[in-house]
């Protein structure tokens, strides 16, 4: 094993090992102090950052670092290859994940000082970093899906971080539902690759598929990518996710998690390039999301939601770039967007302070920015657009009305049939009372 391979393994595994060790110690009854925990976290991510920097030297020479561990498990003709790989595409994402996780950890050590969930936050941050590094360094779509799922579950658990308030908890449930629904696309897409190409590994070239097969796989992967990147029609979960603590919003929805969908499409670019239909759909979804994001963002009343929609708009543009095949422009766009949004999210709690400081510095009120583009529209259209934006494009309403409500109605209908012949004791327990998966409508409503 070469030094580069050892470094790659270290970078990916280090946060996971820290998570496992601290979680086990906690289960056995030991809770580490805040200072010790943040020190270990800082050390881990600093070491990972140096590791990634070392990898840059190798990748810059044009080579790819690949580590093959064999199969994670294998049965019959089916195998789950355990291949880590970093190339010119994944390295920027690895660097982004490591550097931003380290920065967020340092920020959170102060921001969450004496917060009851301090340990929980850091454990989930390590797990998230492990999941995202695994997804970005995966040499096969199988492994990418595993990392993808870990990112999803940590994201959901951090949205519900303030567990004593019902709103974050209900919103976490909603986000979890959308993630799981969209991840079906990833799993079935991976299966289709296995079935048709016999492999999902891309460390030695991309799986070979025919035209129609490539289209189907791309559409399935697009479903997963759109869900993770909050593209329309799944954008409704993004403002709900702002219920989590600000540092987690910054790294998940400003930087890493929101761009994971774009990474998946970039990884599948060779397939996408062969499928005009899927490429057109990617462009269409990106365009729709960009327009949706920019309009809704203008009607958002709180800072984090405005930032979330600003991110969404840019991710929509990234999707357009991917659909057009401008791969490296998309990568550069993601890097820029992720770093700027992270900074903006982290400053969001101090926005008023910053605003006043700026006023003091310039010695008075900041002059208005001038005319807004929407003012060019007729007043009735402006009003309609405002109402549309205020309800966030009615996306949640549509999803509720066409997907969630019918499912719940079907469930209640089945429950009614199940009750045939049941005794009064079980009916009395109210097991089939109507439930809500909708949660509180929006952040700030509770």
């Amino acid at each position: 094993m070469s030094l580069s391979q050892a470094i790659l393994i270290f970078v990916v595994l280090a946060p996971g090992v820290v998570f496992v060790v601290f979680a086990l110690l906690w289960l056995l009854g030991w809770t580490p102090g805040e200072r010790f925990l943040s020190w270990i976290t800082g050390l881990t991510f600093a070491a990972c950052t140096f590791g990634v920097a070392a990898l840059v030297w190798t990748i810059a020479s044009g080579s790819t670092v690949t580590v093959t561990f064999g199969n994670w498990f294998a049965v019959g003709d089916y195998h789950f290859p355990l291949v880590l790989m970093t190339d010119r595409l994944s390295l920027p994402f690895l660097a982004l994940a490591v550097v931003l996780s380290g920065l967020i950890a340092q920020f959170s050590a102060t921001y969450l000082h004496r917060e009851p969930g301090f340990l929980r936050f850091f454990l989930l941050l390590h797990l998230f970093a492990f999941g995202s590094l695994l997804a970005f360094a995966a040499g096969s779509f199988d492994l990418l899906a595993a990392g993808w799922e870990v990112v999803g579950i940590t994201s959901v658990l951090l949205i519900g971080f303030f567990q004593l308030r019902p709103a974050p908890v209900e919103n976490a449930l909603r986000v979890f539902g959308i993630y799981r629904a969209c991840d079906i696309g990833l799993f079935v897409g991976v299966f289709a690759m296995h079935h048709w190409a016999g492999t999902t590994s891309f460390d030695r070239g991309f799986p070979t598929l025919t035209g129609a097969q490539a289209v189907l796989v791309c559409l399935l992967l697009l479903l997963a990518a759109a869900g993770k990147a909050a593209q329309i029609p799944f954008s409704g979960w993004l403002p709900r996710a702002m219920e989590g603590p600000t540092p987690s919003s910054a790294i998940f929805y400003g930087a890493i998690s929101i761009h994971a969908g774009a990474y998946l499409l970039l990884r599948a670019q060779p397939l996408l390039a062969r499928s005009a239909l899927a490429s057109a759909l990617v462009i269409l979804i990106g365009l729709g999301t960009a327009i949706h994001g920019t309009i809704v963002g203008r009607a958002s009343a709180d800072a984090k939601t405005s930032l979330a929609y600003a991110t969404l708009t840019q991710v929509g543009v990234v999707f357009i770039e991917i659909g057009l095949g401008w791969k490296w422009l998309a990568v550069a766009h993601i890097m820029g967007n992720a770093t700027v949004r992270t900074m903006q999210f982290l400053r969001a709690p101090s926005m008023l302070h910053d605003y006043h400081q700026m006023h003091s510095a310039i010695g008075g009120e900041v002059s208005p920015t001038g005319k807004q583009i929407e003012e060019l529209l007729p007043e009735r259209v402006q009003l309609w657009l405002y109402r549309w934006a205020f309800d966030r494009g009615h996306l949640d309403t549509i999803l509720d009305r066409w997907v969630i409500d019918p499912l719940l109605q079907a469930s209640s209908y089945l429950a009614k049939h199940d009750r045939v012949g049941m005794t009064w004791t079980t009916i009395r327990s109210g097991h089939a009372a109507p439930i809500s998966l909708h949660g509180p409508a929006k952040q700030g409503d509770d």
Binding site: V75, G76, V156, D418, T426, A432
Partner: protein, 476 residues
């Protein structure tokens, strides 16, 4: 000091594994003290016996020994996890009787003994009155399944004059009527649609842990693996019916769970939906589907017993009026129970890093390979189950903290260690799945071979191959 040879003899070890729990159950009918200790010793004896049997079994022929070990461990864990309030001599005796009957069903190669074990496993529930008379569906479901199996066994034995499973392989004994009766037995015992309601009723009205053990004996899947697959390898047109029913059940019950607010019923639906996948994997006729089904058998059994055990602990500590319609915020009071609950639950629905991910991955690939369109329902059902589980978790453990609980203990040391053992198994199994999957993979290869070629399987999975023919895995 050397161990006498007869001690390690297979019949002796099997007899000890089955006989000691039964003997302890009889002892407990007259002995009232130290019931938990007696139960643990009996279950531990079964663990040792099964472990020795498993160690002695050749690679690829150890499925039923592994299942014996699994069920013994589950019983040991359930005995430790049982709250003091529930730890009566009737409860422990019933659990031990169930253990003996289940091990008998796993280990036997005789049709009549299998039928007896099938019926005996229900006896504790009738004898102790665990299934309340008012909830009639569990009784009807279990009795119907027994009746169907008895008729099938009768038909097979009268038409062939043979009761040894070994000698009946590949002969389709009793023809389509016997096959149909066996299917009916599976449908009723496993809770496959339309006979699914009894499972939730049993979980709600019966004692949590014994019912979880009864459901996790997976007698329905056992019947498929032990009788239907080896005896009827030529029923190509009929066999998929079982798979379709299983997949439809997985989806139906997953939808049903979405609006369920009773935690016990909800967990029962999740367990049922996930365990229905086992049948579809066994029927998939692909090595990955069958191996996935066997590994999933382990995953469902461990997770479900863990979840029901934790739910019962919560009921004992925080009252029995828990519901998924409002938040209870119990994680504040019981963080370790919350963590164990979420790990077991996410294992059940296939979170990466747990053994559930590997089993789901294999199962879904197997199901999609054999039934491309209807197989798509399986990942959809799993996604819905994940949402239902997460809803239950958030309602029980998160949200506004409730006050007024008289006891607010987290997991006691006894409970903590046994839960930690389960959690470690599913996590390390998930990190290093080959340790579990490789042995199941060889068994899957043999079962797949038996389905495709009609080769003979003996009761513990041994293939009598023509000279020079190797299992599929060995030819790769």
């Amino acid at each position: 000091m050397s161990v006498p040879g007869w001690v390690l003899h297979k019949p002796f070890l099997t007899g000890v594994s089955i006989g000691v729990p039964w003997f302890a159950a009889v002892v407990l009918t007259g002995y009232r003290r130290h019931v938990r200790i007696v139960g643990c010793i009996a279950a531990f004896t079964s663990i040792v016996g099964s472990a020795l049997l498993l160690a002695d079994a050749p690679n690829g022929e150890s499925l039923y020994q592994a299942l014996m070990l699994l069920f013994s461990c589950l019983t040991f864990g359930a005995t430790l996890l049982l709250p003091r309030r529930d730890c009566t001599r009737e409860a422990i005796a019933g659990i031990l009787f169930l253990l003996g009957s289940t091990l008998l069903a796993y280990s036997t190669g005789n049709l009549l003994v299998l039928l007896s074990a099938w019926i005996l496993s229900i006896v504790p529930f009738l004898w102790t009155g665990w299934l309340r008379a008012r909830a009639w569906r569990p009784l009807v479901g279990l009795l119907f399944s027994s009746l169907a199996l008895a008729l099938a066994v009768g038909l097979i034995s009268t038409s062939t004059g043979v009761i040894s499973i070994d000698k009946l392989k590949g002969q389709s004994p009793g023809g389509v009527p016997a096959f149909a009766l066996l299917l009916v037995a599976v449908v009723f015992r496993k809770g496959i649609c339309p006979a699914h309601s009894w499972v939730a009723d049993a979980a709600e009205t019966g004692p949590a842990l014994p019912t979880a053990l009864l459901l996790n004996g997976h007698f329905g899947a056992l019947l498929v693996a032990k009788l239907i697959v080896p005896l009827f390898p030529h029923t190509d047109s009929l066999f998929p019916v079982l798979s379709y029913l299983a997949i439809v059940t997985a989806l139906y019950v997953a939808i049903r769970a979405l609006a369920e607010n009773s935690p016990r019923r909800l967990l029962a639906f999740l367990a049922l939906s996930q365990s229905a996948c086992i049948l579809s994997g066994l029927e998939s006729r692909t090595a990955e589907g069958i191996a996935g089904a066997i590994v999933h058998w382990f995953v469902v059994a461990i997770s479900t017993v863990g979840l029901f055990g934790i739910l019962r602990l919560l009921e004992v500590r925080f009252g029995e009026n828990l519901t998924a319609s409002k938040h209870f915020g119990l994680a504040e009071h019981a963080p370790r129970l919350a963590v164990s609950f979420v790990i077991f639950g996410l294992t059940l629905v296939g979170l990466p890093g747990t053994l559930g991910f590997c089993s789901q991955d294999l199962l879904i690939h197997g199901a999609l390979t054999s039934h491309r369109l209807i197989g798509l329902l399986l990942p959809i059902a799993t996604a819905m189950n994940a949402v239902s589980f997460f809803r239950l978790f958030t309602r029980l453990f998160l949200g506004k903290r409730r006050t007024g609980f008289t006891v607010m203990a987290d997991a006691l040391p006894r409970e903590r260690w046994i839960l930690a053992a389960g959690v470690l198994f599913v996590i390390f199994g998930g990190l290093f799945p080959n340790a579990v999957v490789i042995r199941r993979s060889s068994e899957a290869d043999l079962m797949q071979e038996a389905i495709h070629t009609g080769l003979d399987l003996n009761p513990i999975g041994k293939v009598e191959r023509p000279p020079g023919k190797l299992p599929i895995s060995a030819t790769r």
